[in-house]
């Protein structure tokens, strides 16, 4: 048996690193700062290769080539629109259904819907496409959509809503418009929105001798109910794992804010916020009605009947009705004693990407208008857990009939009057995760609320500075 040595790797070690770094530096030096495309054109000038056409092969044009079919002066006979969306499961099927209804409602426009992953994936995909000046769809449904607007890739939706073929914006709740605002402009159309609501297990409530017809009104109620409900393997209260949303709700109710008006400073360490995180921590460590850092399991605990109250998005309602083997109750967001409820909205919106062809933009708006009409809003909100957009929704006869059949939906709908939009700013991803970390630190007793929130503020403030540099 011969033993041979793997030779020469000694010399190789340095050489490999040198090769990589030299090539990278050379590439950077030649191509500008790691910029393969020398164009300094703003990313907004993305031209979808799909122009008005009668054939439905949207992506046949070689993609590197800028669309040769831009801006025909005459109105096309037929327009095909690409539509990206990011809702899976039942909600996704409802979106497909709405698109089908639109396609059947007229013959001039055909919309081709494609699922592009969840909010994170579709965002990655959109950013990639904008950065690489690559084909974008004409319309997309995204979470955090106003941020796309702020990069200049899409047309402010007010160009359409306030135009000749527009709509009466005052019919839709103001909070929904605020939610689609960035840097003072309304970029996109509210579509699928939700708010936190308080789900509770009526069977457990009855067993604990609590009133089953209504959920807790205030956070004090949550605590006293929770103490009744907590026993053995059973917990009183818990939230889903996007804890930042629920703590933000409490902070806003207590009169605090997430960020200052100019969006230059995070306000997480305000006394109002600290007080609420203190309350949160007390629920875990003092009253012991909520298990520490167990939010990922909260949903299954609730369905398994070992959790009394569950704070989560209203969009989950239909699936809880479907999956819960007990009698479900839904209550509004609990209020801070003596103060108003506040329900921060979340969810996705529809954006229309820039296009040099006015007929395509027109068609895209026609589609968006259909998707957010009163009829579609009714359809979406009665087939998923998303909320209707219109102030008059509770008075619609169809909605009233639906509420007769599904009384649980009443609480989220009535809660719409408290809807509130947390400002959408580029550091939102960072600020959410910073707040989640603060919650976790307090729950596990690793930090007191003030210190945890000071730290969160520090993280966000630093990111705000970085994000501001992008615009320079």
């Amino acid at each position: 048996m011969r033993v041979s040595r793997t030779h020469g790797f000694r010399q190789t070690s340095g050489a490999v690193i040198v090769v990589w770094v030299v090539v990278a530096l050379l590439a950077a030096a030649c191509g500008g700062p790691a910029e393969p495309t020398p164009t300094t054109a703003p990313p907004a000038q993305v031209q979808p290769t799909v122009a008005a056409s009668t054939q439905a092969q949207p992506t046949q044009a070689p993609t590197g080539v800028p669309a040769a079919t831009s801006a025909p002066a005459v109105k096309p006979d037929h327009v095909t629109l690409d539509f990206w969306y990011s809702l899976g499961g039942n909600s996704g099927q409802v979106v497909e259904e709405l698109v089908k209804l639109f396609n059947e409602s007229q013959s001039y426009i055909t919309v081709v819907p494609t699922y592009q992953g969840g909010y994170a994936e579709i965002m990655a995909k959109t950013w990639n496409a904008i950065f690489a000046e690559q084909t974008l769809p004409q319309v997309a449904q995204l979470g955090g959509a106003p941020l796309v607007g702020a990069t200049g890739a899409c047309v402010p939706i007010t160009d359409f809503t306030d135009g000749p073929n527009g709509i009466d914006r005052s019919k839709i709740y103001d909070a929904f418009w605020d939610y689609n605002k960035a840097e003072g402009t309304i970029w996109c159309m509210p579509f699928n929105n939700s708010m936190p609501v308080l789900y509770y297990n009526k069977d457990l409530f009855a067993k604990a001798g609590l009133p089953t017809e209504q959920g807790p009104e205030t956070w004090d109620d949550v605590i006293s109910y929770g103490q009744e409900l907590t026993r053995g393997d059973q917990w009183g209260f818990n939230t889903h794992d996007d804890t930042h949303w629920y703590l933000s709700t409490m902070i806003l109710e207590n009169g605090g804010q997430i960020i200052n008006q100019e969006e230059t400073e995070c306000l997480y360490n305000s006394p109002e916020a600290v007080e609420m995180l203190q309350l949160w921590g007390d629920m875990v460590n003092d009253y012991e009605i909520m298990p520490p850092a167990q939010h990922k399991e909260a949903g299954t605990d609730f369905l398994a009947g070992v959790l009394g109250m569950f704070f989560r998005s209203s969009s989950t309602l239909p699936s809880l009705v479907r999956d819960a083997p007990f009698e479900l109750g839904v209550g509004m967001v609990p209020a801070v004693e003596g103060k108003d409820r506040v329900a921060p909205i979340g969810g996705g919106s529809l954006v229309i990407f820039k296009n040099s062809n006015p007929y395509i933009l027109e068609a895209a708006w026609e589609f968006v208008k259909f998707m957010t009409s009163e009829a579609s809003s009714l359809y979406l909100s009665t087939h998923t857990g998303y909320l209707p957009l219109y102030k008059s929704s509770l008075e619609w006869p169809e909605m009233q009939a639906y509420l007769e059949q599904n009384p649980l939906v009443r609480a989220p709908l009535e809660q719409l009057q408290y809807a509130y939009a947390i400002p959408v700013f580029p550091s939102l991803g960072t600020s959410d995760s910073a707040l989640r970390q603060a919650v976790e630190a307090v729950e596990l007793g690793a930090s007191d609320p003030q210190a945890a929130l000071d730290q969160a503020k520090k993280i966000v403030d630093q990111d705000l500075i970085t994000q501001a540099q992008n615009k320079q």
Partner: protein, 292 residues
């Protein structure tokens, strides 16, 4: 090799046959227990796939569904347009597998058996491409696709994966253990390098080639983010994207359906694995070639 040599005459319970039997019983027992433990999560997945929505999460958890809902499988198949996705996945994974076996065995042969300038450097450069996280190479890879005009095409799903440094490395390890005399003899008989690789080296390394082919197939079968980012058309989508469609971030996932879909998606790989696993143990030892 688990049997000890026997010396001289021994009592019955120590006889070769009894010992062999005992060892076999022990072997079965040990493997059964560990296999069951390993399969536990998988069994739970199958059990969930047959449950209705109201009994997925119960307290305490139940292993056996109260009523077996085979309907979940039908709904899963229809709900995700699996038919087309399935064909795409099979086509892409097979193309990648074939390509990897060809390009990797060629490269591995060069690394294992030839002396050339820059060998170590090139090998290290190859291997080092696996050390950078795919999360950051996504954007530059996307740019390459754009420059080539390959967005939204099978090419984008296949070509970038036609070689694998890990597979090259593994095959190199295998080829290096082949006796050098083998090649010298073959070459003297006028056998060219390509023929030597195809007719002698590859068949002798069957276990390694089979295992690397399986990994290539699976790696591609399971890829999700790249196909999602690089294709926009429905008709180019693969199974994993169909599977994720069942996961609803805000709306609450239908776990019964999802698990049924997950079982369906992994079924082909299990079948392929079961078929090829025999060749993992058909190597040099059984082809009768003696070690040096």
């Amino acid at each position: 090799m688990t049997t000890k040599p026997t010396t001289g005459s021994v009592p019955l319970w120590q006889s070769q046959r009894v010992r062999k039997g005992l060892v076999a019983v022990l072997w079965y027992a040990l493997l059964s227990v560990t296999a069951l433990a390993v399969m536990l999560p998988f069994i739970w997945m199958i059990s969930t796939s047959l449950k209705g929505p109201k009994e997925v999460f119960t307290y305490p958890p139940s292993w056996i569904p109260s009523a077996w809902r085979w309907q979940n499988y039908i709904d899963a198949w229809e709900g995700a347009k699996f038919g087309r996705y399935f064909l795409n996945s099979v086509f892409v994974a097979l193309a990648v597998t074939l390509g990897q076996v060809i390009t990797c065995s060629m490269a591995a042969y060069a690394f294992a058996r030839m002396n050339f300038r820059g060998k170590n450097l090139v090998f290290a450069l190859y291997l080092s491409t696996t050390m950078i996280s795919t999360q950051v190479t996504l954007v530059p890879s996307y740019l390459v696709m754009k420059w080539l005009g390959w967005m939204d095409s099978y090419k984008a799903l296949i070509v970038p994966f036609l070689t694998s440094p890990f597979a090259i490395f593994m095959m190199r390890q295998a080829f290096m253990t082949m006796p050098r005399e083998l090649e010298e003899a073959a070459r003297l008989d006028g056998c060219g390098r390509v023929r030597f690789l195809v007719q002698i080296l590859l068949p002798l390394s069957k276990p390694v080639i089979a295992s690397q082919a399986l990994f290539a197939f699976m790696g591609n079968w399971n890829s999700y983010l790249w196909p999602l980012i690089i294709t926009t058309r429905q008709d180019l989508r693969t199974l994993q994207i169909g599977l994720r469609y069942f996961v609803s971030q805000e709306g609450g996932t239908q776990w019964g359906l999802f698990m049924a879909a997950a079982v369906l998606v992994s079924l082909p790989v299990i079948v392929i694995y079961f078929v090829v696993q025999k060749s993992f143990v058909e190597g040099i030892a059984t082809t009768g070639l003696k070690g040096t």
